[in-house]
């Protein structure tokens, strides 16, 4: 496959792995957080960690849109489908995410709620056009990549006068989350989470550009290398981060320059700015309330805002007590540190959100690496107790 296979070539990977091994200094530590679930997936899918020397480790970040959505918001979506009898359109990843009382959209669908899996906002609009007598709500989730298509759908619905269409908006922002991770006590004061550098998101950065990362490269003195989602992208970017650390630099570098520019997609940014505005605060699973980290619909589009159209109970629901998703999303713990991992919680029967999406760290560990890294002694003892 042209333009894909080139980024998965074994000979190039071996060359890069050799260079990383030569340049990573034995006395140093290189803990690199890949923010994005897409990178997490690529690292596991292609076994990239196997090719790294001992002291180069990937720390998995919170950039999985499914994983960071708090239970209360999923309950809200179920309420829309059940209580308000709306057709709820959702991306497939959301279907199995556990909500309160071990429910999920998949189970709600089996119970008769009208929940439909869509590939794009355009599918949701079509469902609204075809079902004018029903309310159709699009369950909008995701980082900056999925926000512009939602904006397009809202504007289209407005232009067409599609009054039965609305959006349950859960769009969140990458820079706010990275800042939050870096400001967390585990990173700043306790030092329990070591993050020496960042791999910046690929698709998100194609929209927002590389500029937004300049602030925290400077403020937190950590290198940021924007990387594509292919395995060779990840390895090349890792090498670039290692070089920065060796040279004492902390800059934003762009490995993914075939797509990402400094300014990003200004047309998409303008569209998003026209339709959305910042929420003062938004709850993230694992991170808690993060100020100015999410979007809501602007006043002129209020008619298409499901949260204003329907009264939804606003609730904050606690995660399952022993689920370590919150700490895992902050990079503070590894999936294998959780006593539920692989026992009560598997992809077939997920307790926490990180076990659901293929981009979640727990699902990736379970699916691709459980033979390599068995549960830590600590978690085993806890499980026995």
């Amino acid at each position: 496959m042209k333009y894909i296979d080139e980024y998965r070539r074994q000979d190039l990977a071996k060359g890069l792995a050799g260079r990383i091994r030569r340049e990573a200094q034995e006395t140093r530590r290189y803990h690199i957080m890949e923010f994005c679930g897409g990178h997490t997936h690529a690292i596991f899918r292609y076994g990239v960690q196997d090719l790294m020397p001992e002291n180069v480790k990937f720390v998995h970040g919170p950039g999985c849109p499914v994983c960071v959505l708090p239970i209360g918001r999923i309950d809200g979506a179920m309420e829309l489908a059940h209580k308000h009898d709306a057709i709820l359109c959702t991306y497939g990843d959301m279907m199995r995410v556990p909500a309160s009382k071990r429910k999920s959209l998949l189970k709600a669908k089996a119970e008769g709620a009208d929940i439909r899996m869509v590939y794009s906002t355009q599918d949701a609009l079509k469902i609204a056009r075809d079902n004018q007598e029903r309310e159709v709500v699009f369950f909008a989730i995701g980082f900056e990549t999925t926000t512009p298509p939602t904006a397009v759908a809202i504007k289209q619905a407005q232009a067409e006068g599609l009054e039965n269409f609305s959006v349950y908006c859960n769009h969140v922002l990458t820079p706010a989350a990275i800042t939050h991770v870096l400001e967390s006590p585990e990173v700043r004061e306790l030092g329990t989470v070591a993050i020496d550098a960042f791999l910046g998101p690929s698709h998100v950065s194609s929209v927002i550009g590389s500029q937004p990362y300049e602030f925290f490269a400077e403020e937190f003195q950590r290198p940021v290398v924007i990387a594509g989602f292919e395995p060779l992208d990840v390895m090349q970017a890792t090498l670039m981060a290692i070089r920065q650390l060796n040279e004492g630099r902390h800059e934003v570098e762009n490995e993914y320059h075939r797509v990402v520019t400094r300014k990003g997609n200004t047309k998409a940014q303008a569209l998003v700015a026209e339709v959305f505005e910042l929420r003062r605060s938004f709850e993230w699973r694992g991170l808690g309330e993060v100020p100015y980290s999410a979007l809501k619909l602007k006043e002129p589009f209020a008619a298409f805002d499901a949260e204003r159209k329907f009264t939804l109970e606003n609730r904050s629901v606690r995660d399952v007590k022993s689920c370590e998703c919150p700490a895992i999303l902050r990079g503070a713990k590894k999936p294998t540190d959780c006593k539920l991992f692989g026992k009560a919680c598997t992809p077939d029967n997920p307790m926490g959100s990180c076990m659901v999406s293929s981009e979640g760290a727990c699902a990736a560990y379970w699916t691709y690496r459980r033979f390599v890294e068995p549960a830590t002694a600590n978690a085993r003892e806890e499980a026995v107790a």
Binding site: A17, R45, Y46, E359, W366
Partner: protein, 349 residues
């Protein structure tokens, strides 16, 4: 034909007509449907006897029997339809014991309102598939459910076959040291169906690989009767099939991603949809596991047959108490190839 016209003064309207409840009531309308559609196309002596069962002599040797329900949507897809699939799928299940399939039965559940034209198209395709395979449909059943209680048509087929002497083929027989072969490229069927279901347009149309594999199997067992396992990687794809066999046999597997055949267009479509071809369904491929020393002979036998032209050796069976299927990735790292969880989902980010 003259007699038929007398019994049913007006021929079945297979151009504009639709299934209604009378077609399942056991009365004249049902008799007409059977005679003018099923009997006409499936035509064979056993079916013509008009009994509620087909009577035939049991073949000497070990018999095998398999049944499969078909509920595919859309009913028609590039490279096949629910009819041909219902014939191929069940023949293949029987053939995976190394058996020669002999007879088929077919049970139809029709939804009220289903166009007779579509039904005829399906029956014609089924009849063609069964004739090409040399396995006649010798008995059948028709039921009609009310509108909204079915999805057009569901077809359940059952096949019986007989295993040639000297074969011991079963999913629990893979041993460390055995070699794993695949008969051709993976993922064609799933992508062909999905491309129609999601209304995704591709520049080149990807066709389902739906095919009856019993002749390929016959050629294989003739050359290498030592084959330990055969299975067709349908739902859940190659990954799931290998996990099933690993579990049944209590052995691990080690694959090499680089040599697993995937067509370029299928790989591109999977890339676009966020699917892993290892988990995408096939309907005309088989996995074979045989002792290491027979692998080259078996590969040559497969490649000699049109349905095994692109066959490849993709890995081997190893000792592993966890019965994991592992794979050396394109990049040279390694990973577990797990069971399919839930349904494959498109990526959103």
């Amino acid at each position: 034909m003259n007699m038929m016209e007398r019994r049913f003064p007006r021929a079945l309207d297979t151009r504009r007509g639709a299934v209604d409840m009378t077609h399942g009531s056991g009365g004249r309308a049902m008799a007409q449907l059977i005679e003018e559609l099923f009997l006409r196309h499936f035509d064979n002596a056993l079916l013509r006897q008009g009994n509620d069962q087909a009577a035939f002599d049991a073949a000497p040797g070990r018999m095998v029997m398999s049944t499969d329900g078909h509920v595919i949507s859309p009913l028609f897809f590039p490279g096949g339809d629910i009819g041909s699939l219902a014939v191929h799928g069940t023949i293949n299940d029987v053939a995976m014991a190394g058996a020669r399939p002999l007879y088929l039965s077919a049970g139809f559940i029709l939804e009220e309102g289903f166009p007779l034209a579509d039904l005829e198209r399906i029956v014609v395709s089924m009849a063609e598939a069964s004739r090409d395979a040399g396995v006649p449909v010798v008995t059948g059943d028709t039921k009609v459910v009310e509108r909204g209680k079915g999805d057009g048509v569901f077809i359940t087929t059952t096949a019986v076959g007989v295993v040639p002497e000297g074969l011991e083929i079963s999913g629990d027989r893979a041993c460390p040291g055995d070699v794993i072969l695949i008969s051709g490229s993976i993922g064609d069927h799933g992508v062909a169906v999905l491309s129609k279901r999601e209304n995704l347009e591709f520049e080149t149309e990807i066709e389902s690989d739906s095919a009856a594999l019993h002749r390929l199997v016959a050629a294989m067992v003739e050359k290498v009767p030592e084959i330990n396992c055969l299975r067709d990687p349908t739902r859940g794809g190659l990954a799931t099939t290998l996990n099933e066999i690993a579990q049944q046999s209590g052995a691990g597997m080690r694959l090499n991603e680089q040599v697993i055949p995937v067509r370029h267009d299928v790989a591109a479509a999977c890339e676009l949809l966020g699917l892993d071809p290892l988990y995408v369904a096939n309907e005309g491929k088989l996995v074979a596991i045989c002792p290491g020393e027979c692998a080259d002979t078996l590969l040559a036998a497969m490649q000699d047959h049109p349905l095994g032209r692109d066959a490849a050796i993709i890995g081997d069976v190893v000792e592993d108490e966890h019965a994991f299927v592992q794979m050396e990735t394109l990049l040279g790292g390694s990973r577990v190839v797990d069971w399919l969880v839930g349904e494959q989902l498109p990526r959103i980010c």
